[in-house]
Each structure stands twice: as C-alpha cells, then as structure tokens.
Amino acid sequence: MNSAHDLMEQLRVEGASRYAGTALAADHSGVTRRVRRGRAVRTSALSVAGVVAAGAAVFGASQILGSVAEPIATPTAPSGPTSAPSVSDSPVEIATISVHKQERIEDIATDLAATFGGTQQEALDAITQSLPEEAKGNPEGWVAVGDYSLDATSTLREGAVQLVAPVLKALEAAGVPREKWNDTVILASIVQQEAPAGHSQQSAVARVLLNRLDAEMPLQLESPLAYFLRADERVISDDGWAVDTPYNTYMYNGLPPSAIGAPTQEALEAAADPADGDWMFFLRKKDGNVLFFTNYEEFAVAVDEEFPGTGASE
C-alpha cells in the first residue's frame, strides 16, 4: 500500500509539471502590478485623500490625451475581494510614509523598506548614508515627524534622502553651526519627549537642558533611559531602571549618545533657538503644563505639591 506521503508527492510533482502551462508562468506582470498598487495603497493609509487626488489628476490627464489605460486584469488575475482596493489604475504611485512623534528609526526604516523594497537593515543603511558626517553614523532622530509623500518608483536611497531632508533644512534655516548639528538633533528629540506641546514650553525646556549641560549637572531625565530600555514596549521593574548606560543621565553628565526618537519640526526649532532664561529645573505637571525654576528649593516644594509623598527629589 502506498503511503500518503508518496501519493501526495506524486500529486505535487504532477502539479509542478503543469506550472509551465499556466498563464502565470508566461507572464506575472499582473502580480507585479497588484504588489505595486498594494504597496502604494498600504503605505498611504493615513493620506488616502492625497492618493485619490493624484489618481484623479492623472485620470483627467488621460481623458484629455484620449489614451486608454492599460487593462489591468490578466486572464488569471483573481477578481473580487482578494484584489487590493485600488483607487486608481493609473501608473502613478505615491507612497506616503508617516513618521510619528518619538518613532524609533528602526520603525521608520521598516516603513521605508516596505515601500521601496529591501530589508530593514538596507533601509537603515540608506538613511545613514544620506546623512551628513555630523550625524556620526547614527540616524536616530534625523528623520523628523511628518507625512512624507514619495514617488514610489524611486530607489531606496532616493527615498532615504527625502526622509532626512527636512531635518537638514531646519538646521540650516535656523543657522545652527554644523558642529552643533548632532547635539541639536539629540536635544530636540529629548525636548520632544519632555515637553510634548507648545513652542514656548519646548524652547524653555531646551534652555533648561542647555543650562544644566553648561553647569556640568547631570540632566537627570527619564526619557533617554526609557528609550534605551524600551520602556514603552514592556514593563520595567524598579531595579531595571538602574542600568549603567550612557543613556542613564542620572549617572552620566552630558547628552546621551544618540537622539531618542523622531523629533517634530517644532522641537528642532526649540533646540536650535532656545528661550532665554536661567532656569535649572523644570517640572511637568500632571495636567501637561510645565513649570520652570531657578533654584532647587522652589522646585522641591513644587514637586511635593504636585506629587505628594515622593519626597522633594528630582
């Protein structure tokens, strides 16, 4: 008696031998088109309106020229619910990459890779290669928050160049000297996390951090450590916070070695052009407001008021 395995293997071999006769073997452009369309549609989930507008424009143009769009369906292309919800059969492809506040560079690279092909590592390398040498080879923080509309037919590298362009532009526009670019990006990413709202708050927080750096005081911030420990993705025990890393700004003076997520344009501006003041402390209240202090006593009193029972400590 034949074993089930052998019989199924026979079926597989038989099936394999019939592949050559299929339409798919002769021409898989239908698959390529569906993948392209799907990529464009998927990556622009947050800006469907843009794609529709582009599609409409191209549709209009093709009407004027009297050209006929290439038929999409191949004889074998399955129709119905399996096909991507295409908004347009036109060849124009706009891929939108949305960078969220504090998004990590790896996640941005994943989006980039999904849009232009390639692995996450290749996308990361492409971003790194698109940076000026001031970035010291670390791309974190060099892609600012926002929606990027990219031509989906361009290469990975071209896409990466477009992603880092706004940060470079902001640094140049603010007149930041090149040797301070890296520190400014790092500062902006921290400001973004410590004071999420409002230019006045952000530029004042940037000032506090710079004052502390000048005074060689440790920054004593939770956000770089949270970034390092990935505290946003998992629960860190109290002991888990006591790690010896340059991101531990309670332990080491100075800025952490890299940015800690994507900054907004606002935060970049705040870091490039901080407010004037001699504050050395700030307290973010539970309602989101931020208070600033020049001396420790006032700060400690405010902490006790806002967070009773924690003891007047930073």
Binding site: E9, L11, T32, R34, T76, T110
Partner: protein, 185 residues
C-alpha cells in the same frame, strides 16, 4: 527594476513549479492553484517579506499559500451565496470541493486527491502539511497560527474522513523526524 521584483522574477523562474505543485495539492485544480499562488505572491511581496533573498521569499510564499488557502475558505463561507452557487456546487459538496483535473498521476493518487477535496480547507491544510511536508503537530500549529489541540482535532477528523473512503492509502502516522534547530521560514 526594484529589488523585490527581481526576487519575484527569480523566484518564479526557479521555484515556480515547486510552489505551484504545493498549491495544486491543496486546491486540486490548476486554475485554483494558479489563483492561490498569485494571491500568496501578492501578499508576500506587498508586505516587503519577499526582499530577503530567494530562500526566505520561498518560505514566506509557501506559508502565504497555506494561509491564503485557509482564508479563501473563510471568505467563501462569509460571502453571501446565491441560489445558483449552491446548485452549481451541488447540494452536499463542501464549498471548497472542486472536481479534480484528470491527471497522469496514478489511480490511487487521483483517488486520494478526490478524497482530499471533500475535506474542509483547514482539515485539508493540516493533512497536507502533516503527510506531504512531514510536519509534526506543533509545527503545523505554528504554520497555521492555530492551537496545538485544534490542529490535532483537525488532523484526526481529516484522517478519519479519508479512512472512511477506504482508499488504498497508508494513513498511519508519519514517523516524525525530530526537527532540528531553526524554523524553516
């Protein structure tokens, strides 16, 4: 040409027959296998998973074939059915059943194929992965995203139904070769 589309070209040229053969065992007909393979290719390359080299793409497409196959059953069941659909399929046949193409495979293989087509998609997928791919239950569960117990039940039900049909097929449990480290993806 972007990297993924080069990978797609190579994949279809070198591995097309193998992948198609697998889809053929699952679906039992050339047109259905072709649709299934297309869907699996679109899924894989759309998500960017097809860009890590040919072997990885092969593994992803194969997995996508299995999941697309199971989904197709789920979708067909969820879709409103018209009277003519039911008539066309025959009143008793499961929605996935298709008449097998006449094939040069041996009679027993053809019988087995016909019997397989009476199984609902999930049972069929479990049976094929178990006997054709020699996968142990735990790996099947992993592959299909189902609980181990669920896979065991599908397998038992599926094999039970095949046995009822008195095929000249040895359905004794496959000798499970211990799978070495590293998942085949």
């Amino acid at each position: 040409m972007s990297e993924w589309s080069r990978t797609l070209d190579t994949l279809l040229r070198e591995r097309g027959p193998a992948l198609f053969g697998y889809a053929y065992v699952l679906t039992g007909s050339v047109p259905n296998a072709e649709d299934l393979l297309q869907d699996a290719l679109v899924r894989t390359f759309r998500s960017g998973r097809g860009s890590r080299g040919i072997d990885s793409a092969h593994a992803y497409v194969k997995r996508a074939i299995t999941s697309a196959f199971i989904d197709s059953g789920r979708r067909a069941a969820a879709r409103p059915r018209t009277v003519s659909d039911a008539v066309l399929e025959g009143a008793t046949a499961p929605s996935q059943a298709t008449t097998p193409d006449h094939a040069p495979a041996s009679d027993t293989a053809t019988d087995l194929q016909a019997a397989l087509l009476t199984l609902p998609p999930r049972e069929r997928a479990c049976v094929v992965l178990h006997y054709l791919e020699d996968l142990p239950v735990a790996r099947i569960a992993d592959e299909l995203g189902l609980a181990v117990g669920t896979v065991k039940r599908y397998l038992a039900d599926g094999v039970g139904r095949l046995r009822e049909q008195n095929l000249a097929v040895d359905l004794s449990p496959t000798p499970t070769i211990p799978v070495t480290e590293g998942r085949q993806r």
